[in-house]
Amino acid sequence: MRNKLATESLFALSKPGRRGAEFPAADVPERPLSELIPTSALAEKPTGLPEVTEPDVIRHFVNLSTLNMCVDTHFYPLGSCTMKYNPKRHERLASLPGIVDLHPYQDQSDLQGMLGMLYEMQEMLAEISGLPAVSLQPAAGAQGEFTALLTAKAYFEDRGEKRTKVLFPNSAHGTNPASAAIAGFDCVQLASSQEGLIDLEDLKAHLDDQTAVFMVTNPNTLGLFEKDIKQIAQMVHDAGGLVYIDGANMNAILGYTRPGDFGGDMMHFNVHKTFTGPHGAGGPGSGPIAVRDFLADYLPGPVINYHPDAAETEQYTLETPAKSIGRVRTFYGNIGILVRGYCYLRTLGAAGLKAVSENAVLNANYLKALLKDVLPVPNGNLCMHEFVASASKSKAANGITAMDIAKRLLDFGFHAPTVYFPLVVPEAIMVEPTETESKETLDAFAETIIKILKEDPEFLHQAPHSTIIQRPDEVVAARNPILQCCEPQ
């Protein structure tokens, strides 16, 4: 039963004189504000913030929260996004005094525990990637891409080379070309082969002395391992370029193979995916990058160094690499997310990480096998941690689209998979069950999809039927944008 009153906007709940927070009176001698601040700088009237009580606020947001599906309540098989269980111990440990309350400009001698933890994180990421130099600074995967591209640019410029092109396959995440563009490169999109892999001929045709970086996700966005990656890397290196690995799909290969070993020169991690930093309905993320040793000097600063012979209060220091590209954000990175990632890695250890990949791949292939007759997967026999099925068959047969299936799944208590991405598969349904789901859940999910595909197509076009709203009008939203509740005051 919905509490509709509580989910009215905060502004509708507002009543003059209500309060949600009170502050003590000033304990210093007060002076008229106009003596402290020139009147020209003082506001003439109060802000238009609403006036509500603390219980109003709690009831409002708690009621809103119940309108969400989330990993804590539902199976969330979003391909390309890795929605796995977010361990509760991380929330507690990231909030400990001595972690949650550190000011970024404290003296380094006060921070040895924190810097030691972050140094160990750098070391673990270097080992997992096979790339020895790490910067924890990027705030998200896309910023990691951008940072690495600037690192490559600085490296080439240092060598007196002006390389202008960044190549990526047509199945790439949209952030790859967007990052290349803001890093000032020309973007070149490559075709995929029949099997959904990089087309070696097309790659060859585009490689030249202007190629700076080839960006590739491996396993790729179809959930397939680029089996020719070593040869591909060799081709790029022969042309004088560098290979960038988009680490979005690292959870498929942890402990099995490493980007540094299969030819990558640079990569980013999505700590908020692979290492369970929660998504927070959109963020924060954390996108540290790892690079080969010859790129280490160009990394954005500061990075953490270790001086074993120094006094205990000075062993870990923040330092800026010699030829650093500069800063990409204020302070040091999204530390709260990195702490969660650190806790995850320390909980799993080497064997645990490998078991994560095994179970992620097992779950994906199992689900794919359960669905193969109704939702065929155009590319690949075995998939890695995710697969991209196509609803083309059902669309042709009776008009049931990927969107219909996605929306109807909500009625059955399953979050929808990613649909219509990657763009290279028509009616794409991209499923990533992750390792933190049981066989029982996967069985129930597959049964539900099979059941949905037998339903009346007209009924499905109107789905979902049980959610609080159904099929919002996005065209109206875009044509006449309403982006806040009230008029500016």
Partner: protein
């Protein structure tokens, strides 16, 4: 492994359904010569109990505000966080949800972000606010990119030298490699010299970036500087302190085109510099050139009011290399914290917090100035909650002496690089006083420094 479900029997059953005989053979597409062939060399696994002991030990090696009083500033502040903020942000329904692409399954996050946008618009007096960017420093770069698109001027931006030095560094990293000239107007006397700013502007400048209150805590002539920007057809970008808007004129009131801020002050703990919250607002006429995620109100097929991700045609998953930015996340959870914080405070609370900061900071500045060897760097400049002092014995001496007495001040100005730094920056230290600081703390510090 505490997070894996499948039993060995189930694994066998599943492998059979797939049609392979072992877990290892699921990885057959990885060529054997690319296999690692040894265990990763990372520390051994810890149980929850062991991990908690380990992390607690590391945390205890840090000295934070629980053991010393924080009077540090420089873009991160120790403001009070009401318990209800943690309670809401700690709900799994919020923090374990994904980007709300499926609107029907995400109305909670969508409405919360919509209200966040509304609250920031009310706070700033701006028309439109997005659902947040990474943090304050990167907001400056994004605003410069946006100004270039709006003005079609791609080669020049002007920053005040009183902008946070790390923000300046971020902008330089983002822009200078694109052959965009980043002009910094040196700040020689605690705030911008309007004549010098006017001289630095020209008809090719995309924007003027103003920080108000600035890095040294003092107030800029924000309205006058905005007029200078407009005189040259450039956009006025104002980086504000969200708490200060409880008493100061709002960027929307004096004509800022883009208003940006570090939103950490609004209910987010210091946590060693991140994750923080990039607040980004602009005039309505520029909305389609705006970076980042936007939530819009619409109706569903039954005419019921609801919320969706809006104007996605600007974003990289649609526009790829033509997108307004490469940012594909927002700081959703931190935005939720800010929304709850602002809702709790309301118009009265935000004013009280701002007044407390201002009154206490002025008391602290007066008292510190009575210590021999300490003087205010800019005694004539009005300030809000942060101010710079210089110490005749050197910045290190002052910081050390304060630390010994249980107080953290800073950062010291010599930590940063400035164009044409005045001599006194060598001995300068920032002091920030929030509503949490008490008269007795301030008096104790002053007594200790006098001893």
């Amino acid at each position: 492994m505490p997070y894996l479900f499948n039993t060995p029997e189930q694994q066998q059953e599943m492998l059979k359904t797939i049609g392979v005989d072992s877990l290892e053979s699921l990885f057959a597409t990885i060529p054997s010569e690319l296999r690692l062939g040894r265990p990763l060399e990372i520390p051994p696994a810890l149980t929850e109990m062991e991990l908690q002991a380990h992390v607690t030990r590391l945390a205890a090696k840090n000295v934070g505000p629980t053991s010393r009083v924080c009077m540090q500033g420089g873009g991160a502040y120790d403001h009070f966080i009401p318990a209800a903020v943690d309670e809401i942000a700690g709900r799994g329904e919020f923090y374990t949800a994904y980007t709300p692409y499926q609107a029907e399954a995400s109305q909670g996050s969508l409405q919360t972000f919509f209200e966040f946008q509304s609250l920031i618009c009310q706070l700033t007096g701006m028309d439109v606010t997005n659902a947040s960017l990474y943090e304050g420093g990167t907001c400056v770069s994004e605003s410069a990119f946006m100004a270039m698109r709006v003005t079609n001027r791609h080669n020049r931006v002007v920053l005040l030298g009183s902008l946070h030095p790390e923000y300046q560094q971020v902008v330089e990293t983002y822009l200078t490699h694109l052959n965009c000239e980043v002009v910094v107007v040196p700040c020689l006397d605690g705030a911008a010299d309007p004549a010098a700013v006017d001289a630095a502007m020209n008809e090719e400048t995309a924007c003027l970036v103003i920080q108000h209150p600035n890095f040294f805590g003092t107030l800029e002539e924000a309205e006058q500087l905005t007029e200078i920007a407009h005189k040259y057809g450039a956009l006025s970008v104002v980086s504000y302190d969200p708490i200060s808007l409880g008493i100061l004129n709002r960027p929307g009131d004096y004509g800022a085109d883009i208003a940006i801020a570090e939103g950490q002050s609004l209910g987010t703990p210091l946590q060693f510099g991140g994750p923080y919250l990039g607040l980004f607002s602009c005039s309505e006429k520029f909305v389609r050139r705006m970076p980042g995620r936007l939530i819009g109100q619409t109706v569903d097929r039954n005419g019921k009011r609801c919320y969706v991700l809006n104007l996605q045609a600007r974003e990289q998953h649609i526009r790829r290399d033509k997108a307004t930015s490469n940012i594909c996340s927002n700081q959703g959870l931190i935005a939720i914290r800010a929304a709850v914080y602002l809702a709790l405070l309301g118009k009265q609370g935000i004013r009280e917090v701002a007044e407390l900061c201002c009154q206490k900071a002025h008391y602290a500045a007066e008292q510190l100035a009575t210590v021999e060897g300490i003087e205010l760097l800019y005694p004539e400049r009005p300030f809000f909650k942060e101010f710079a002092v210089s110490c005749s014995e050197g910045a290190d001496y002052l910081l050390r002496k304060a630390r010994q007495a249980g107080f953290d001040l800073g950062p010291e100005l010599s930590r940063f690089e400035y164009q044409q730094a005045p001599e006194k920056f060598q001995t300068g230290v920032l002091v920030a006083i929030t509503e949490q600081r008490t008269r007795s703390e301030i008096d104790q510090l002053v007594t200790a420094l006098k001893a």
